[in-house]
Symmetry: C2
Subunit: 263 residues, 2 copies
């Protein structure tokens, strides 16, 4: 009897942002396969005695090739296991869930997809920054901020440089200087508000904001490190509408452009 696989989006980091369904399936799985972006508070929900396989790094060195992860999922399911494949964010937004689902379908293995809160939605909520707004943004666009082979970002920059659209670059920190430059060349005003959000929704959340033209230098001065989202658009000026009930005071670091917002 063949098993099955659930590709489970685990959201942006805060374990309370798991869905009820994700929480249930994590408790039912025979084996858990997880990514680098699934944090300890979520892995702590896996029942004792259930095998957990980290595919974020192979023996602490390189990231595992995707084909190897696909094969692992197939092998586990063929043995009759119910596999919970945990992914950060949403499995179908830059999560390579499509590739894993294809590989499993080719082997006739039943797959269920459990959507998760994607990083853009989690960070937007944490910062009080709407992704769309009737007066500010009629569209929001999630864009990959890195390429498969660390090559140039091959994107439609003229189409991206639309002042009515909120742009969210996933994993965009390393390419932030290129992103800012390409958007400038394509005509997006240098004054357009922009921000880098590191580890959004977690206790380690950091935010570095500024006009599009100045953000790359500020991000370097703030010594930000991945995982990070880059958001560009008028809505960024709305950030910090939110006061959390537990802490209404923003802690600021010495670097005035780097704001550690409370959870």
């Amino acid at each position: 009897m063949t098993g099955r696989v659930a590709l489970i989006g685990c959201g942006p980091g805060d374990p309370e942002l798991l869905t009820i369904k994700a929480r249930r399936l994590i408790g039912e799985a025979d084996v858990v396969v997880y990514d680098r972006l699934v944090g300890a508070p979520i892995l702590d929900l896996v029942p004792a005695g259930i095998a957990r396989i980290d595919v974020g790094k192979a023996a602490g060195r390189h990231v595992r090739p995707q084909a190897e992860i696909n094969d692992l999922l197939v092998r586990l399911a063929v043995k009759g296991r119910f596999v919970a494949r945990l992914k950060g964010g949403d499995p179908f937004v830059f999560g390579r869930g499509g590739e894993e689902a294809e590989a499993l379908a080719r082997h006739g293995i039943a797959v269920e997809i459990v959507p998760g809160i994607t990083a853009a939605a989690g960070c937007a909520a944490a910062l009080g920054m709407p992704l769309t707004h009737r007066d500010l943004a009629s569209s929001v666009r999630f864009v990959t901020g890195h390429r498969r082979d660390d090559g140039e970002l091959d994107l439609d920059w003229d189409g991206l440089a639309d002042p009515d659209t909120t742009l969210v670059f996933y994993m965009g920190l390393a390419n932030l200087p290129e992103i800012a430059l390409r958007l400038m060349v394509a005509g997006l005003p240098g004054s357009t508000p922009a921000a880098v959000i590191v580890a959004g929704t977690t206790p380690d959340q950091r935010v570095c904001a500024g006009p599009r033209a100045e953000l790359p230098a500020r991000a370097i001065r703030a010594r930000l490190e991945p995982p990070a989202l880059v958001v560009v658009g008028r809505v960024v000026a709305c950030a910090s509408l939110v006061e959390t009930p537990t802490s209404a005071v923003e802690e600021r670091t010495d670097e005035p452009s780097s704001i550690a917002l409370p959870r």
Copy 2:
């Protein structure tokens, strides 16, 4: 003592797609204010004895003006209540959550935003259709499919007609003929896969798929009704990778272009 408001995204319909945090706050609220798109299975989670205010329709006639909803939230919070403001999907993706958060912040009322599974992610998971894919779509774009005053869709159609981008039009059914035509004029091939998803993730889910050029006529023949998402892009061809564990057989209606996928 002033109260507070949580703007809570309730996801696409399936109550198991609520976040754990949304579920908790629904149980803690003093009063619940909800939209048309929040269904009965979610309202059933509100404890007995807690007031529920429907702002989706005023006395069964017109939709309430946004300013009236903002005022209601302010009045309830000023009385010291903890208000759970329930919204379909995510409050910051076409949910007008930004406007409500602004109004509350102007009155000094603490606001918390709880992100939800946006309809695009919920429908993509239900259909086994990734929103991004390394080979098919480097970007996904959420676009409003209707305008404030039912006027023309004032969008950057040339920017939208990018074959490397998945387009998701929220509330796009009424304007589907215009959307398909504008994308044609902007150069998007007529063969580009497209779909309308009605009531995604709920027992009433219906899907109508076809090439971009033929979808408007098929949607009319299938007599689809809102709420609906329109998705356009290569990834739509991946739909139905998913076999749900409970029902692996697709039920087809008489209309071959309208597929009722199992939940």
